[in-house]
Every structure is written in C-alpha cells, then in structure tokens.
C-alpha cells in the first residue's frame, strides 16, 4: 500500500513536470482575446464519430500569452480540427497548482512543446507567442511586409544590472494556421 502511495505521488510530481495543465472553466470569447488565437499544435486521434482533434494554442489576454485548448469532432481530420479551432470551443488551460488539484480536476498532459516567451535573435524561427506583444496597443496590430503577415514585438532583457527594452519584427513563414514565425529584425 505504501509503495502504491509513493508511486502515485511520484506520478503526480512527474506529470506536473511534463507540461501538465488543468482545464479551466473559462470559456474563450472574442471579447477577452486580443486579436486571434495563434501557434496551433494539433493532436488527431480516431474516434467513433470519425476523428477527434485536440488543438493546443495560445491566446493573448491583456498583453499576456496564455495556453488554451479546443476539442472538435468530425468525419474527416480537417472537419474535426476546423471545429476545434472555433474560439467558442476552447477553454483556457491553467498551470497545475497542487493545492487546487482535486478528484474532479481534469488534467491535460502533452508531449507537444511548451511555448514560453524568451530572448530571440535575428533569424530565429519561433512560435509567435515566444515574443511579447508590443507595449503600445497601437503597435500590436499585424501588418504586411513582402506579402507576409508581420508584427512588432518587445523584449525586456536584464543585462549588466540594466534593463534593456528591445523591439523587433517577426513575420509568418507561410499562410497556414500552423506556420511558425521568423525574427526578421531586432533593435
């Protein structure tokens, strides 16, 4: 029995380190999300209705990137993922907090890469939400450059006891929903 308990505890701790999230009750709407959802990563499995598509993606709420997940079903993979992509089918994922885990908690663990904001360099290929949105709301919008979709970003970096604020430009590599972005400039 003691072995079982230890195993359970180890499993819970291990799961928390393997990018696990709790499903929140917060349903997404266009009102609370700035712009559109981005950085879609999909996991498709067969289902009795055809296919089940689980989309993990990122939404920007009040300048902060947050993880969200949408689930859709369909006769084809495309149908299932199109359904999962609808914002109203999505819910925010919250960081696992052991004090809030209960028997009712629905936990989501995934091997898909966890996306976080980090310093970037010119030429890096990244997910859009690996950079912060611009601090001026007016500068957060997308723009066209060389027929690609681009946006400005800011990066706050502490170096030699100084806080530097850089800004830069990232552009989408292609027009698909699953496209990554490239850092085309930073200054």
């Amino acid at each position: 029995m003691k072995h079982l308990l230890i195993l359970s505890l180890v499993t819970v701790v291990g799961a928390a380190q393997a990018d696990c999230y709790m499903h929140s009750d917060i349903k997404l709407t266009n009102k609370i999300v700035n712009g559109t959802a981005t950085d879609y990563q999909k996991l498709v499995v067969p289902d009795k209705r055809g296919f089940k598509c689980v989309l993990k993606y990122r939404v920007n709420i009040d300048g902060d990137w947050q993880n969200a997940e949408g689930v859709g079903y369909g006769k084809t993979e495309d149908q299932a993922c199109a359904s999962a992509m609808e914002l109203t089918h999505g819910a925010l994922l919250m960081e696992v907090q052991p004090t809030k885990v209960s028997a009712k908690t629905e936990m989501v663990c995934s091997d898909l890469p966890d996306i976080k904001v980090h310093p970037v360099k010119i030429g890096d290929v990244i997910w859009e939400s690996e950079t912060d949105v611009h601090s001026h709301p007016q500068e957060r919008g997308y723009f066209d450059y060389k027929r690609t979709r681009c946006r400005m970003f800011v990066e706050r970096n502490a170096q030699f006891q100084n806080l530097y604020t850089y800004q830069g430009i990232i552009c989408k590599l292609n027009t698909t929903q699953y496209s990554k972005w490239q850092v085309v400039d930073k200054y």
């Binding site: 723009f143 400039d185 200054y187």
Partner: protein, 101 residues
C-alpha cells in the same frame, strides 16, 4: 503626420536614456542628425531611396545585421535610430489603414 506619430511612439520604447560616448568615431551621419529626422507622407514616394540611405548609414557604422546584444550602448542607440526610420517607412507606407482610428 501619421508616420511622425508612429516614429515618436516607437522612439519612446526603443531608446533608453543612456549617456553618449564622447570618444566614439564612425562614418556616416551623426546620431543627433539621425534622431532628428522626421518622416512624412512625402517620404513614401521615395521609400526605396530613403530606406537604402538609412541602411547605408548602418552599414557604414558597422551595426548592420547585428543583434542589439552584440553592440555597445552608443552603437545600439545608433542602430535603433536607423531601424526605427526604416521600419516606420516599411510599415507606414505599405499599410495605410494601420493608424486610422
């Protein structure tokens, strides 16, 4: 006018208040001159020449193609001033609806 507003708003974020180096030598127009350039709608008709000119200043200054972390503070500031002009033209001239309220 909208380009000027864009330039001002970007400059607020892009430039830190750091003392300039007195001993730095470089080729190209001085930083003070670069920072005082105001862009207007008229610059859009000569966007290619304008961008080419600002790019050339950064090449002459030795900052072209470098990440800001690699640069000294005066060079970073020079590079930032030039890049702000370049991107103000690229964004403002090709996205006329961007700053419409």
């Amino acid at each position: 006018m909208k380009l000027v507003a864009l330039l001002v708003s970007i400059s607020l974020v892009g430039c830190a208040n750091v003392p300039r180096s007195q001993s730095m030598t470089y080729t190209g127009i001085p930083l003070e001159q670069l920072e005082q350039i105001k862009l207007g709608q008229g610059d859009c008709s000569q966007i290619d020449q304008r961008i080419s000119y600002y790019e050339q200043q950064l090449v002459l200054h030795g900052t072209w193609g470098k990440n800001p972390e690699e640069l000294s503070e005066p060079d970073r500031r020079y590079n930032s001033a030039g890049k702000i002009l370049i991107w103000s033209l690229r964004i403002g001239c090709n996205n006329p609806n961007r700053y419409k309220s």
